[in-house]
Amino acid sequence: MSGPLKAALVGCGALSQKGVLPHLTQTDAKERLVLEAVVDTHAERALETAKKYGVPHHFSSVDTMLDEADVDVVLVITPIPFHFPIALQAIQAGKHVYVQKSMTQTVKEADVLLAARDKAGVMLAAAPGFEVCSTTRAMREVVGQGAIGKVCVAYTYTLGFGHEREAQRTGEGALETVDPTWYYRAGGGPLPDVTVYALQLLTSLLGSVVRVTALGNKTSATKEWGGKSIPVEIDDNAVATLEFASGALAVAAGTNSRGGSRNPWGGLALYGTGGALEVTDVHGASGYPLAFEVTGQNAELFSTTLGEQPYIDGAHLDLQEPHVYADIMDLSDAVREGRPPRASGEQARHVVDIIEKVLESTRTGHVQELTTRFTPG
C-alpha cells in the first residue's frame, strides 16, 4: 500500500476535539493518514467538526459512512459502550480499526471482536497502547533481567477527575456542549476510563492477572453538569487487588477524588525481593511514564522525553493526548508494513477481563478468576 491511509473518525466528542483532530490535521500526520470522513450521531456536531478541520465528508450514521465513504481505517472514539458494536461493524466491512479504551465492556465482546478481526484479515489497534512508549520496554527489561529480584508487590493509584468540567462540555455550540452523562452509566467510570492505563502498564511488565478482589462505591448519588443533575449509576470509587500468574500482588485504585496522589498520576511502583522500580515522572497530557528509578542491588535512573517517543515531535508535543495520536500512527505504519500494531487487541482483552472481574467482585463480594491470559513483549 502506498500513500496515506484514508480514515473515518467515529465520535466527535471531547477526546476527538481536544486530542485527536488537532493531531490528525498536522502535515506530518497527513503523510500517513488522511481523514476522509467524520461521524457523529449528533449531526450538527459532525458537520461543525468537518468544517473546522477540513474533512471532506461527514455523517450521522456509521452505516451510511461505511456504505458511502472510501476509507481503509475506522477510528472508534465514542463513549465506551459504543466501542464494540461500531468496531465490529467496521471490521466486518473490511476496515482496519483503532478503538479507544477500554476496547469493550466484556471479554465475550472482546472475543467476538478478535475473531472477527482474524476472519476479516484486518488489523485492530486498541488503546491505551503504552507499548509504543520506550519507557514501557525499558521497565520490562529491568524486571525481566531480575534487577529487582522476584517482583512481589505493585501499586498504582489512578485518581480521575470525572469529565463534566471539561472545556468541550462547558461552552456553547455543537463542539462545546458534549454530554458527559455516559461516564456515570454502565460502561463508564474511572476503572475503564483511567485505571485502564495502569492495568495496561502492569500487564505489560508482569504479564497475566489470574484473580482479583475489589471494593467499590459511589462517591455521590448525582453529579452536576450544565445546570442538570446526572444520576451516578456506576461505582466511581473502586479499589482492587490483583494476583498475577507470577504470584505478585498489586493494588490498583480508581477513584474520582480530584486531589491526586503523591505518587505520580497513573504511575507505577514495583517492589521485588532485591529492589524497587518506581515511576518518578508521568507526562500529564499523554500519561506516558517518562522517568523511573531503580533502587536496591542494581540502582539505575532512567529518563526520557516526550520528544524521544515515536511520532511525537513538532506541534504534537504541545497538543493534548499525544499517546492516542502515536497509537493511530503506529497502526497506519503497521498496515503499511504488514506487521501487527503495538497496541494489541489481546492485551486490551486481558485488561477488559480484569476490569470486568473487578466490577463483578465489587458486586458479589467474592474473588473472581480471570479467563484470559496475555504474554507481554
Binding site: Y155, Y157, A276
Partner: protein
Amino acid sequence: MRLGLIGCGDVAQRDYLPELHRIADRVELAAVFSRSEERARSIAKDYGIARWYTDVAKLLADSGVEAVANLTPIPVHLDITLAAFAAGKHVYTEKPLASTTADAVRIRDEAAKQGLVLVCAPCSMLFPQVVRAKELLDAGTIGEVHSACGILHGGVPPWKGVVADQSQYFVEGAGPAIDLGVYPLHALTGMLGPVRRVSAFTSKARESFTLIEGPNKGDVVPIQVDDNWHLLLDFGDTRIGTLSANNCSIGTKAPQLELHGLEGTIAVNVLDESQPIDLRQSGKGWEQIDVPHQRSSGPDHILGIEHLEQVVREGGAPLLSANHAIHVIDVIEKAARSSKEGRVFDVDHTTF
C-alpha cells in the same frame, strides 16, 4: 508514676529507654526485666534503674511498681499483660494487644474487671504529624474524603543490626500486617472511623531466610506466616481504602498514609515524626507542613507512656483504647480469613 519495663529488646533499647528521660518528671523508671541477666543488669546501670529482674513474676510482685510497659515479643503479650493485671498493675502494651481478637477482648475485659488502666500501642493517633493531619482533614482542607491508602514496607529480612530473635516476627500470630500494618491502620481508622468490611489477598513470597550475623549466623529462619498483605477496606459512607504491609520488599517513595479528598490530598509519614506533611489543595501544587515534634526522628512511643500516666492520674478513657486495638486486630484477622476463603468479610468489633 513508677514504671516497670518488661522486655529489653531492640524496640526497648532504640525507642523507649533513650527517650524516657523526657517525661522523667512524671514517670520514674523503677524496675526492668530481661530474660538475660547480663542485659538486665547493664540496662539498669546505664539508665540508673533501681531494680532489675530476670523473672517477670518478681517484677510484677514489686510493690514499688504501679504500672508496666509490656515490650515483649508478640507471642507472649497476652500472658504478660494478664499477669500484670492479676498483680494489680496498670499496663501499656506494645502492639498487638494480642494475636487474636478473642484474646484481645479477654484482656480488655480483665482490665475493666480489675479497674486498671490499659493503654494500647501503636500510638499512631498521638503522633504529632497524624494529629495535625487529622486537624487538616476535620477542618475540610481537602474536602470530602472517599479514598485512602496505607503502605508499610518492613524491609526484607535478615535485618542488619537487629539483636532480637528474628524468627519471632514470622511465627503464627505475627507477620507484617499485625506488626507493621497496624501503624497506618490505626491512623486510618482513627481519622476515618472503623472499617466495616474487608477483603484481602495475602501471600508468602519467601519460605525462609538465613541469618547473616550474630551468634546464630548461618541459621535458616522459617517464614511461617504470609509476608505480603494487601487489604481493601470499606469504611462505609462512600469511603474505601487500601492497606499494604510486607516483609518481602525494600523501602518505597510512596507515603505511608494518604487521604484523597475531592478538594485535595494529605500524605503523611506515620512512622517518622520528623517528616513534614505533604498537602495538596485544588488549584495549588504540593506544599509541605512542618509539624513540631519532640523526638528527633522516628516514631515517638514515649507519647503512649505519657498517655498512660495521664489517664492513671486524671482518670477517664484512654484515646489509645483497647477497643481501637481490638478493632484493628479484628480487621487483620478478617483479612486473613478473606484471603483464605476468597470473599469479603464483615468486621465485628467496630466500636471505639
